[in-house]
């Protein structure tokens, strides 16, 4: 019966007693850890063991303290996105260690990595990647829904509050494909923040926006970074925006330059 329920997605039906709980939001790792990201000698190679084996990251060491807003710059193909994918637990390093809030992720299995990613890391991409079948508020609720399995009123309240923060309350129930590019990116930002993550990874989130929208999105990122002491890795080609960050690292040919 349990297996059947699992197959149908009802595994936690009987566990859903506390309607208000958003299971484990922000509780996967020590939220007060002084270092949010620590990379020790991280290497990443593709096509391992084949004649076309290519190493993209060559022993990256990086420490990102709690609450730091760090810009990542570098030319195309330098390994910025690969670095972000590894830090975001979407990809595994070929060697080296990655610690998120002190937890060594290299020893975790896929299930534990998925859970850690869902509860501790938020993503914003150059393209918004919103789910077109849902409205703005439903997209924001999605990570909470995935973690808790059942919708509840508190999820909606939290999502509505974040949409208010990004000044999109009037569009909460609008299908996302009816929003402008800047609005869509702000919905994506609210979605990335909804689990109150310890780390936000932003891969050129302003790259597709006009300068006014880009400024607005950056200002929001900075605001949440300061208010929630959330660490941010912000990939950008915009030197002006990078100057407004706490720190800038440059990735060149798979190593972090000065």
């Amino acid at each position: 019966m349990r297996r059947l329920c699992g197959l149908l997605g009802w595994t936690r039906w009987w566990q859903f007693v506390d309607e208000g709980s958003i299971e484990g939001a922000g509780q996967s790792v020590d939220p007060g850890a002084p270092v949010v990201v620590q990379l020790d000698g991280v290497r990443k190679a593709f096509n391992l063991g084949t004649p076309i084996e290519t190493e993209v990251l060559h022993g990256i060491d990086l420490i990102l303290p709690r609450g730091q807003f760090c810009a990542v710059m570098g030319p195309s193909g330098s390994g910025k996105s690969t670095l972000l994918n590894i830090v975001g637990l979407l990809d595994r390093p070929t060697s080296g260690r990655l610690l998120i809030c002190g937890e060594d992720t290299t020893v975790l299995d896929d299930r534990a990595l998925t859970r850690l990613r869902g509860l501790s890391i938020g993503f914003v991409f150059q393209y918004h990647h919103l789910i077109s079948a849902f409205t703005a508020i439903e997209n924001v609720m999605m990570p909470m829904l995935g973690a808790a399995h059942f919708p509840n009123p508190k999820m909606r309240e939290r999502a509505a509050s974040l949409l208010a923060d990004v000044e999109l309350s009037p569009w909460a129930d609008t299908p996302v494909n009816q929003l402008s590019g800047g609005q869509q990116q702000r919905v994506a930002l609210a979605r990335a923040l909804v689990m109150n993550p310890a780390l936000l990874l932003a891969d050129e989130p302003t790259g597709n926006l006009d300068s006014r929208s880009a400024d607005a999105v950056f200002a929001l990122l900075r605001r949440f970074n300061r208010e929630q002491q959330m660490s941010v890795l912000f990939v950008t080609h915009n030197g002006l925006l990078a100057e407004r960050c706490d720190r800038t690292i440059r990735v060149v040919d798979g190593v972090i330059g000065v």
């Binding site: 149908l8 997605g9 039906w13 990613r117 991409f125 990647h129 789910i131 995935g146 919708p151």
Partner: protein, 413 residues
Amino acid sequence: MNLGWLPFEWIVAIRFLREGRLQTLFILGAVAIGVGVIVFMSALLAGLQSNFIRRVLSAQSHIQLVPSPEAPRPVLRDDASSLQAMQGSMIQAPLQRVRSIDQWQSIAAQIRAMPEVLVVASVAGGSALAVRGSASRSISIAGIDPADYFRIVDMSDKIVRGTSRLSATEMLIGTELAADLGLGVGDKLRVSAASGAAITLSVAGIMDLGNKGANQRVTYVALHSAQSLFGLPGGVTSLEVTVRDVYAAQTIAQRITRLTGVQADSWITSSAQFFAAVSAQTLANRAIRFFVALSVAFGIASVLAVSIVQKSREIGILRAMGISRGQIMRVFLLQGGLLGLGGSVLGCLIGAAALVAWQGYVRNADGTPLFALDFDPALFATALVLACITGIGAAYAPSLRAARLDPVVAIRG
């Protein structure tokens, strides 16, 4: 817009299906047509078969008990010289006389006590010559107890003139024999057995058995009349049995033989060709249903495979936000199941509508339905369950593919 009370996977599956409205409608239509064909064909063929069987078995019993045929028995002593003599001899098959079943009353009582048995009727039968004036016809006489026998062979719709009630001096004859001998209800007919015994009976009723040969030969008389005509005082030549499940007749016949020691033949062996035809039809029906179900499954699988390609970025971003592989897999399995369920509900309606239309338009010349169709709820329930299982099964491979998508590759597109 409210997400309701459904779990995450259900919400996403339903929204994905709703978003690809046209695609969903097309595949629902395909599933519905497939299920409709299966439901319609199954009900039609079940109705057709039960009609065939009813027609065949309404004129005969399901099991017939007859005395074992007489076999040659050696009369020589069992020594070497006798054996030598036997080896050189010709063995002549004995004549099969009209014989009674020994202890038939106790055997009939034993069979009646079996829970699978509906009716047991005794028959004293044989061949005779019907003579009227200068005309004569060879006939087959069945001496029956109408109270029992007409529960096996329903005469109510076969009597065309007169009545099916039989007294000791009456008989029922077929329409062809009546025409050949110029007989009407109340006319007298002299019947002679091979032994030379003869009786004169009056025609109580004329029947149409639906077969020219049977209408020429088959006649019914009272049991006592046949017993005296064939020299079988108190004896019967066969016991006719009907059972609740006609398809279990062979097994029950074998049990009766073991229980009573009397040879019992079921309609399945005595009408072997008919049964083979019914079995072949059943097999063909199953094969058609299987291939229709297979095409439905491939339809669902192909639509989901396309949907996964279309939604790979969304799958990637769902994975990035902490949705597990299992959850992704369940989203697509549910889509398969929902397509199967939705399509089968529509399909059942289409099938039922087609059956109603069939009953309305395809009729006998007299306006009666060609045959009764069976709206079996179990057929519709089975179609629903099997379509859901087929949908989930068809969705398995695409779902696995979706669950295994590398989020990095999926997001990059």
